[in-house]
């Protein structure tokens, strides 16, 4: 059992994310407008659920690494969407996982050009994708 936890389940979690990578799509951008600037986050969707969101860097016109929240004044939302769409096509699943005890999930990092741009959560047994319910809720609210 210990071997399974240390080797088999994480390996399976990475494989699961590799399998879903080609099915990931961008959702409708979440635009947070503040008095002087705009923050654009692009939800990444698997089936009808968001798995994470990618922060968009308007100065680089591409995804920003996770944890770095960049703002801009003039942001072309369609361009942001396209940039993240293209980045998803080039994205790679990293061969390592993190475990989150409270949620009982493996967290698998996904990178784009040396930057970790998003995480995908996988169940403890490594078989199923665990959605990010907070972002999913936000996406649902904005559909119409």
């Amino acid at each position: 059992m210990h071997d399974e936890i240390l080797f088999e389940f994480p390996k399976r979690a990475v494989e699961t994310v590799k399998n879903v990578l080609k099915f990931l799509k961008v959702g409708e951008p979440i635009v947070k407008r503040e008095p002087k600037d705009v923050r654009v986050e692009i939800p990444v969707m698997y089936l009808d659920f968001a798995v994470d969101k990618v922060h968009y860097d308007p100065s680089l016109k591409g995804p920003s690494p996770k944890g770095r929240h960049v703002k801009g004044y003039d942001v072309d939302i369609e361009e942001a969407k396209r940039a993240v769409e293209n980045a998803l096509k080039e994205a790679k699943v990293l061969e390592g996982v993190e475990y989150r005890e409270a949620e009982r999930v493996w967290v698998v990092p996904v990178s784009w050009r040396k930057l970790i741009v998003m995480h995908v959560k996988v169940t403890y047994d490594g078989k199923e994708i665990v959605p990010d319910y907070g972002i999913t809720s936000e996406v649902r609210r904005r559909i119409l």
Partner: protein, 369 residues
Amino acid sequence: MELLRKLEDVFYRIASFLKRERLLSILILVYVALLFFDSSLIRRTPKLIDYESIATILSFLIVSRGLEISGFFSKVAGKVVEFSRGSEFRLLVILIAVVTLSSTVIMNDNAIFVFIPLILTISSVADIELSKAVSLVAIAANVGSSLTPFGNPQNIIIWRKYDVPALEFVVSMFPFVLAWTTLNLAFAWKCARGCINVSEFPSVSVNKRLVMLSITLFVLNVLLVEINLPFLAFLITFVTYSTLSRETILSIDLAIVAVFALIFVDFGEISRLISPHIGVAGSNFEIVLLSALLSQAISNVPATVLLSSRCPWLPLAIGVNLGGTGFVIGSLANLIAVRMSKISLKDFHRYSIPYFLAATAVTLIILIA
């Protein structure tokens, strides 16, 4: 310079509100236009809102959203692909059957939320025509939701307003839903092309606690609404989800409350204004045709509010549910399907309008027979 920027920000916020809440904006404009016509509307506004129906719609909306985001139906969606075994016709038949059945319980727009992404995924790995699958699934969601009094907002309004027992509602609607589903399957048979090749994809984990919670509250809501306690149903639903599954509550756009309130006010007022000039009650045949065509012009929930006190419930329910197919404006589920899938209106109407015409003919034949 600072002032300019602030002005620009205000305009941006108004523009994004109008863009985000198109339906609400149109209803506000209609309300303002009605105020110009008769300013005493302000005093009558609170009385025009059917609070019990709104409480019922919200209760079922929350519960069905809980079921949807539990992942249970996504699991079902994965099985649909598995059972299609590479046949496009079989895939369409299973999709139509599953969407029709699920929308009797989770409401038509929630069924769309579950199955349109699945179709998008399938279309990205298999050679299926997206517009065909999306259109037939949207029809299935509308048709399936017609069967039960809690399947969609127009049925909830009719159920509440006419005090129809839930079982009587289902039994009366059954022959029509069966005919409409058969017709949808016939369209699938006519349009299916042959073999498809779909690769497997991992499923989403199911939140079992949320499934159990939603099923329990769903049954409780049906019972409470049946014994005429819609506010208690809403209160229990809201408090329970707020405590145990906040993400379900947060996934609901609160603007929907204003949308339904304004639908009741605007179309209740229009109904009052046209009352002296037009009386609706006629033969069942005429009511079905009128309510179906009216739904094509102003969508089926407003059509229900407009006609609900002027004719018997069954032909009205048949007409407004039939009118949910056809033009995209017919129902909210159509709009969500087109918006999520990004298919063109022309492509959507290529399937939905012939279906509406054929379904109307079949319905009228059943009524005459």
